[in-house]
Amino acid sequence: MDTAFTEHRTREPAGGLATIVDDFSADQRAFRNVSWGKAMMWIFLLSDTFIFGTFLIGYMAARMSTTEPWPNASEVFALEIAGRHLPLILIAIMTFVLISSSGTMAMAVNCGYRRQRRATAALLVATAILGATFVGMQAFEWTKLIGEGVRPWGNPWGAAQFGSAFFMITGFHGTHVTIGVIFLLAIARKVIRGDFDHGRPGFFTGRRGRYEAVEIMGLYWHFVDLVWVFIFAFFYLW
């Protein structure tokens, strides 16, 4: 009787797949050196990936099923600068700005772990400024397109879904960047106040502050950056 029970309890460490399962399912935590906050951010980002993924798939499906021609992105997003016609120039600059902000973010994480309070805060603020610049340029781009007659429900050049998908996807991404900027500033404030040096409890959560918060913020920020790369590829280059 109860062979399942006996087997379960006295099983010798087996090789292969069973060992992997045992290691992974081990005592207390599945990921040994990952804190709660970091695990939560990773899983949130996984979920958010599905949101952006679905948005992009929805856009592609709409683009393929619409009956009218799709406007030429490189022409729509061109600018005249000093008499020269430059396709996609604004988007290129925006992309550059956002990628640079990932650089400053990475440096902020690094300084955080060295407990360089001022440098961390400065780099976080720099990241926030670059992020805000990105959002600003996006606002400029929206204004320009709206001025040219692009609306969510139609545009002068072809399929109405062009404007719909453009405003929806860049808007949703821009919201992510904006939220990121707000959190960057909040964390910069905590850093400069020394919350993470003294482990001051958070106002809402009551948890002691740690420099790891900077890294978790960084995960989010790099994710938002990465998503932009996909939006850039699928919306502007296709």
């Binding site: 399942a4 207390q28 990952v34 996984l46 993924g53 929805g58 709409a62 949703f172 948890r207």
Partner: protein, 596 residues
Amino acid sequence: MADIPLDRVAETATTEVEDLALRHPHGWVTRYVFSQDAKTIAIQYTATALAVGFVALFLSWLMRLQLGFPGTFAFIDAAAYYQIITMHGMMMIVYVLTAVLLGGFGNYLIPLMVGARDMVFPFANMLSYWFYLLAVIILLASFFAPGGPTGAGWTLYPPQAILSGTPGQESGIILMLVSLIVFIAGFTMGGLNYVVTVLQGRTRGMTLMRMPLTVWGIFTASVMALLAFPALFVACVMLLFDKLLGTSFFMPSLVELGSRLEYGGGSPILFQHLFWFFGHPEVYIVALPAFGIVSDLIATHARRNIFGYRMMVWAILAIGALSFIVWAHHMYVSGMNPWFGFFFATTTLIIAVPTAIKVYNWILTLWRGDIHLTVPMLFALGFIVTFVNGGLSGLFLGNVVVDVPLSDTMFVVAHFHMVMGIAPVLVIFGAIYHWYPKVTGRMMNDALGKLHFWVTFVGTYAIFFPMHYLGLLGVPRRYHEMGEASFFPPSAQMLNAYITIVALVVGAAQLVFLFNLLWSIRHGREAGGNPWRATSLEWQTPQTPPPHGNWGKERPTVYRWAYDYNVPGVAQDFIPQNMPPEAVALGPRLATGGVP
């Protein structure tokens, strides 16, 4: 088996996981209203969801009255009928079942069963409930909005969902979409908590492979929900834009009442794909926690270890993974490419394999068990029968050629009520009877519980079984009356009247449950800490009901899995998970083997 060897993992003796800094309540408001204690949040979730459940039940009465006695109730015209089925369906699936099983049971059981003090981020957990409540309020507000709630069907298919022929298109559909978006935001905060608590917040000795299956079920369902709700979120946002901004994501060119609409070029099928990419996993988001809970109820009340524990875990994970690649079996008649139908029929039938494994394991657990027909056990057994029944009609509907004539008939209504309506509801009842003593310290009344079970169990069969037959006759679903189609025999209408009467009785029986639930808080029999003599950690708390922080000074250490019932050579008929091996009394079985 005289000695009880330790698993090698149990030797990690340090508390590696930080004990959570808890925010203790300072007054009435932080204790009972804005509480950060997962157990309080669980009760708030459950109470709210049960309230919504009673509204949805009341709506089912209205539908049944109309179907049974068409024309008698003048206020239920075709439009009102659509609104009622839509609200009934959406409420039951999202706002009742998902909320109770994940928000309610997840919050109560996960921290206790894995030996944690609370969820890992109690503040986010609290926000999760308040978002849920807001979503419920928005949803209920649509009853009072101009034009009433939406009548689009719970599937909300465009184009009709937002066109002017559909009741509730003025504001009901907008409120519905907004409410769903808020619900998803709120669920995400809770779901992240459940997942991280299970992965990273367990107590010493609690490996994943020692967790009770309840935790496995809720955990897997939460992961699935975090991956499936995004599709619904996106679909809702896009549909909202189609409605409010005049975009055409889902809207083709149309002529309505003789005039051409502004829409054009969108794809209604895209919505169906997005909706069912959420909708099918949703079935298992509801079913997997129910599977887990049933496994534990059966093991406890049959005093047997669960048969094939590891297989059960793998089956849960396999079902979770497979359920993401079957969604288009809801779309056989949508006009999608027939090859898709072939693919999705195949994957659908494959899911039956891990599901059948689970059913066999339940039966084998019961086999020669010391079965105690307590109220929770009755509900668990009722679940197995009902679920198998619904699963079998699911095999019919999973095959394209069989589904096409049955699609949109009462057969489908019968199928999904069996498999994801009644079956999980039976588990929810069973679980409430089972864990109520932990929550309140008192037992629920047994006689009333048995009455509730038998009326509900027999009654729901009496309601839904004949619907299969009506479906085979061709009676369509979502019709407010059958009309005078010549191929319905007159007895079909008699059958409808009979179903309605049973539905009224079953609905009334739920009031018995409600009474029992409230009455027992003060007047139930004192339960003690572990009335069912169960092994899992929630029954081993130093106090009942457990206080904030659950465990007093020290968190428990776990030495074994959750299914040590009737271990040969051991005096007691169960060994709690946290009983040190040296404390286990050996010798002949004590006379008090069973459940009081």
